[in-house]
């Protein structure tokens, strides 16, 4: 039962003249205010319910497939639900690889953009830059997917080839079966890879992380900033001493928020990769997969049981993303910047 402390009326023991010691006079709320409080609390409950229902329905639909597969769901490296052989081992690994590489590429850019907007940008242009970064976050994923598939794939292959050749001794950067010094080697061995998908997803994730960080950086206390300058620090010295420690929670939180978004990115990944269902540790090699692109690719021709398996994968993704975001919001709210602005 929800408590409405503002609405509870203590039965008064008489008129104001006879109030006993220790009882506080409580306000009588008008009907309008009671209805308002009810409606407001109701909307909060509704929103909470919707969120909870998402998880509940996914779990209900996924039950059939999960009960059939059992624990092998997490260790199998194939996706043939109709023959009973399906598991998200490779798919989950692919999702995590895309997410991790995307956030690795996004974090330096996000921190740099946030620092630039809060420290270096001319004051009159700050709002424009903030709008530009928000615009980058609002660009539809189809647009990024089209750009990635038609432009980046063609033009980045050269650089990725170089990396595979000269940095191929690092195990996950090698492309087995592709000799780049051979002029007849097919360039498509390097397209549709995890790394390419991660590059495009990084562009989608950077503005989100950057906004969170920028909000924290601009709240760094002016007194501390000026103390740093007064002690003779340069601008970068002040940033390192005041702004970055203040925004440390926001940096971590923003990064994790971006990671949550990167894990769930569907359309961009679907448009770039060509799917494989085994664990693919070579990020430069063609063939990648993520949970959301699996669902987008397979839902159309899935049978009932196949649909249930897809729901199970979706549930796993949902739980993973929720966990990452919960941790992110807790870190941000506990940081110095978050606790200062919490209502």
């Amino acid at each position: 039962m929800i408590e409405f402390p503002e609405l509870t009326e203590r039965p008064s023991a008489g008129t104001a003249a006879t109030t006993s010691i220790g009882s506080r006079p409580k306000a009588r709320l008008s009907m309008a205010d009671r209805v308002f409080a009810l409606v407001a609390h109701g909307s909060g409950v509704t929103v909470l319910l919707i969120m909870g229902l998402v998880g509940l329905f996914l779990a209900a639909r996924a039950g059939q497939a999960l009960s059939k597969a059992g624990f092998a769901f997490f260790t199998t490296q194939a996706w043939e639900p109709d023959s009973g052989d399906f598991g998200i081992a490779g798919i989950l690994t692919g999702t995590i690889l895309i997410g991790v590489f995307a956030i690795m590429m996004a974090t330096p850019f996000a921190i740099a953009t946030a620092l630039y907007i809060s420290e270096y940008a001319p004051t009159k242009l700050k709002r424009s830059f903030v709008s530009l970064v928000d615009l980058m976050a609002a660009v539809p994923s189809v647009v990024y997917g089209l750009w990635g598939a038609f432009f980046l794939q063609e033009h980045a292959v050269g650089a990725l080839n170089w990396v595979a050749t000269y940095l191929g001794w690092i195990p996950f950067l090698s492309v087995p079966g592709h000799d780049s010094r051979d002029p007849l080697a097919s360039p498509t061995d390097l397209k549709s890879s995890t790394f390419l998908a991660a590059m495009v997803v990084a562009m989608m994730v950077t503005p989100i992380a950057s906004s969170v960080m920028r909000e924290a950086f601009s709240q760094a206390p002016a007194g501390e900033r000026e103390s740093a300058y007064a002690l003779g620090a340069t601008r970068w010295g002040m940033i390192r001493a005041v702004v970055l420690p203040y925004g440390r929670g926001a940096i971590i939180g923003g990064t994790m928020l971006g990671l949550g978004r990167a894990l769930g990115e569907t359309i961009t990944v679907t448009m770039i990769i060509s799917p494989v269902f085994v664990i693919q540790p070579h990020v430069l090699e063609k063939g990648a997969i993520s949970v959301s692109s699996l669902i987008a690719l397979r839902y159309g021709e899935a049978s009932d049981f196949g649909l249930s398996a897809l729901f199970a994968a979706g549930l796993a993704l949902f739980l993973m993303t929720m966990a990452v975001n919960f941790i992110a919001s807790i870190i941000v709210s506990r940081s110095r910047s978050g606790s200062a602005s919490e209502g």
Partner: protein
């Protein structure tokens, strides 16, 4: 004694040596990279050019600055160069992506039939002068309208709840909402698919797509509106409450109007995000080639879904149409953003110049009216005092003054 000559002090932070160091470093890096790539080493490729050039620039810049300054300043300048260049690269990439899509979509967008026909009567080999994306545009508009009708009342009420009734429950709701801002769009589509279509047994339709879009838009609208409502100055609400208004009236007459522009921005940002989502519509609305005006039945395509599906076609014409649909979508999002920026204005309580002029004019009128009323009362009193001298203190006097008939 002659006055001491004053030397003009330079207060700007930028000095000639700084600018020269920057320009010199860029020039040196460009030439060195050119030398490296064409004469000395077997490197090739534009990306390699940029990478090597950037590193060379940083090295040469550090060297040039260290000729004049100490190590502390060198580190500061280097950090500033790195930060500003990374931020610049990000913004350049954004401009480039948008530009690329628009340029590629122009070939399809210049035909007027692109906006007036749909693809039901077009075969895959037809040229760009036949067929269009009308069904995508109409589908997007219908779906987003229904989604807004669902999301805006509930979302704004929830954000009002979060700002008006702070407490542990509100903190719980806020944590949930913030966690849900990164709900994968495919999961939202799956949710509606499993409830609306599988459990309730209804068809794939535009309405289901609207429901899925609203699940995606809720957290964004609630979060943005919550931030705006928290910025409304407490003095305004407290003044209203002190004057005896109930909480409800305070919210309706004071809080919401002051935050009006910020709330509009929040709604528009949520709309921009909702319009661009493909996967919820993919799962819940299905793909059909014809124009469908009924959201309750039949597949209803949206612009992003159209671009996503057409892109897989092996025909160049269809891919051009996909780019055209994506460009149209991009133009729509840009338009929404410009509108949001204009509406956003400054924070609550701060007015645009036009609003300020209007308010000044109203204040002048009010001042004139109040002054007239005061003058009228003073005139009343003087007139009454003079009349009492003449007629006696008990006589009744009726006459018209500026403030109306008075006794």
């Amino acid at each position: 004694m002659p006055a001491r000559i004053q030397i003009r002090r330079q207060v700007s932070q930028r000095r000639e040596t700084d600018v020269l160091a920057l320009v010199g470093a860029v020039a040196a890096a460009a030439s060195l990279t050119w030398l490296l790539f064409t004469q000395i080493a077997p490197f090739s490729g534009a990306l390699g050019w940029l990478a090597v050039g950037y590193l060379t620039f940083l090295g040469v810049y550090a060297l040039l600055v260290s000729l004049d300054e100490n190590a502390l300043t060198v580190r500061d300048r280097l950090a500033a160069a790195v930060i500003q260049s990374l931020a610049g690269v990000l913004l350049l990439i954004l401009v480039f992506v948008i530009g690329y899509i628009l340029v590629q979509g122009v070939t399809a967008m210049i035909h007027s039939n692109f906006y007036t026909q749909d693809l039901s009567a077009t075969s895959p080999l037809d040229p760009l002068t036949r067929g269009g994306v009308l069904h995508g545009v109409v589908g997007t508009l219908i779906e987003i309208t229904i989604a807004l009708l669902i999301t805006v009342p509930l979302g704004l009420t929830c954000s009002v709840f979060l700002s008006e009734f702070p407490g542990s429950f509100a903190r719980l709701v806020r944590t949930f909402v913030e966690a849900m801002t990164a709900l994968p769009s495919i999961v939202a589509g799956l949710f509606i698919y499993s409830t609306y279509i599988l459990t309730f047994g209804l068809q794939k339709s535009g309405f289901a797509a609207s429901l899925a879009m609203s699940v995606m838009m809720f957290p964004i609208i609630i979060r943005a509106a919550d931030v705006v409502l928290r910025l409304v100055p407490g003095s305004l609400t407290e003044a209203s409450l002190a004057l005896g208004a109930s909480r409800w009236r305070t919210v309706w007459h004071v809080t919401l109007p002051s935050a009006r522009s910020g709330l509009a921005t929040a709604v528009i940002l949520g709309t921009a995000r909702g319009i661009g989502e493909t996967s919820p519509v993919l799962l819940t609305a299905g793909y059909g080639g014809g124009l469908n005006l009924d959201p309750r039945s039949g597949p209803m395509v949206s612009l992003p879904l159209l671009a996503f599906t057409l892109r897989n076609s092996p025909q160049h014409v269809m891919v051009a149409r996909a780019f055209g649909a994506a460009s149209l979508l991009m133009v729509l999002v840009l338009l929404l953003f410009v509108v949001a920026r204009r509406l956003g204005g400054q924070g609550p309580g701060v007015l645009t110049p036009k609003q300020q002029r209007r308010r000044d004019h109203q204040s002048t009128l009010d001042a004139g009216r109040i002054a007239g009323r005061i003058a009228g009362r003073i005139a009343d009193r003087r007139l009454r005092a003079r009349a009492a001298d003449v007629v006696g203190p008990d006589a009744e006097l009726r006459y018209e003054t500026q403030s109306g008939v008075s006794q």
